[in-house]
Symmetry: C2
Subunit: 207 residues, 2 copies
């Protein structure tokens, strides 16, 4: 079952004109999203081919840009920030066409889809799971099969009111007493799904 994540980069630059030696300062905090890519896709011994990630970028000069990463097609993804930054820069420098996803490198697609477009696309057969301080602990929250949900997180900013209100009937979850970086939140969600889904499989099997 595919696990889908949707992350909003509220100020991340939407052109590729940034310096790979200053991913923190020159990109509107693309560095956060690069670490999210690592957390969504990378295992110690390979890629999570069942994972998919939508990064909705809202920063200057040309928002919105959505970068869509598909685990089953991804190549050239390494764990370090700089090489992933180079892949995303290449995606941002790819010529976009209205309403279309254009492939920049294997498994990485770029488009002018906005947050609402992505929500509409995902909501047709999935329910949003939203990390929020009023959520219930993920460990005790009933979550349908990961194939029937998508996980929504902000970057260093929470979703704003407009973004929140567009989520239809979300499942609110929390991860613990501390406020964590988004990439750390993704690690925790992936692990919870790993363990829960393994158990479900185990229960389903006759032995």
């Amino acid at each position: 079952m595919k696990r889908i994540f949707l992350i909003v980069g509220h100020r991340v630059r939407t052109d590729g004109k940034f310096n790979l030696n200053d991913l923190c300062g020159s990109t509107g905090r693309l560095d956060i999203l690069l670490r999210v890519i690592n957390s969504v896709f990378l295992l110690s011994n390979g890629l999570r081919k069942d994972a998919e990630l939508f990064l909705v970028l809202k920063g200057p000069p040309d928002p919105p840009v959505t970068i869509h990463l598909i685990g089953s097609e991804l190549k050239y993804l390494n764990p370090d920030e700089r090489s992933t930054g180079a892949l995303i820069r290449q995606a941002l420098m790819t010529q976009r066409k209205p309403g279309q996803e254009i492939r920049s490198t294997p498994g990485i697609y770029v488009s002018d889809l906005d947050y609402r477009d992505v929500l509409v696309r995902l909501s047709s057969d999935r329910k949003p799971v939203y990390l929020h301080e009023k959520g219930t602990p993920i460990q005790t929250t009933p979550i349908p099969d990961p194939g029937n949900v998508f996980f929504v997180l902000g970057d260093q900013f929470d979703l704003n009111d407009d973004e929140e209100v567009m989520l239809q009937d979300p499942i609110f979850i929390s991860l613990g007493p501390n406020i964590l970086h988004t990439d750390h939140c993704v690690v925790l969600i992936q692990n919870e799904m790993d363990r829960r889904y393994e158990n479900e499989n185990a229960m389903d099997s006759p032995e």
Copy 2:
């Protein structure tokens, strides 16, 4: 209660002669340890002042080198790999003195202590908790107060037999069905301790 982590970087270079633009290729995978530093210390809104980390480096040209990071003293720590790489490079370029920890920047100390030295120091009042495939799930493993243990992990390589046998009476834990990068393992351990310790606090308090 302090939370202490000990990570072995089996091939990480022990001089500062590497390129910050190639942290993955030129350092013996220091990049993994940089992400571990992020996971050990960084919350979204600040530093974990109760955390402490020993990085034992065994790569060329001058092993062993131990870098000791102390959360309550740390400054200038940002979440991106490159800036943390610069701090560690500075530590590695600091002149070492036999058997002494030398401060390179606030909260970062460098020495020629080896793995055994660090174990002896930590084992005087703490028990090792060791991530291993034969471990029991951390969620159901009784772990004394984090103040009475230290967490031991390898980098991209497991501890070797010599390193394992030096752990005195370790508690073996596992984190889930997938093999994860070390920095992701640390995120999971920190979160488990956050939630468990909060609960213990809650149970201890009269209300």
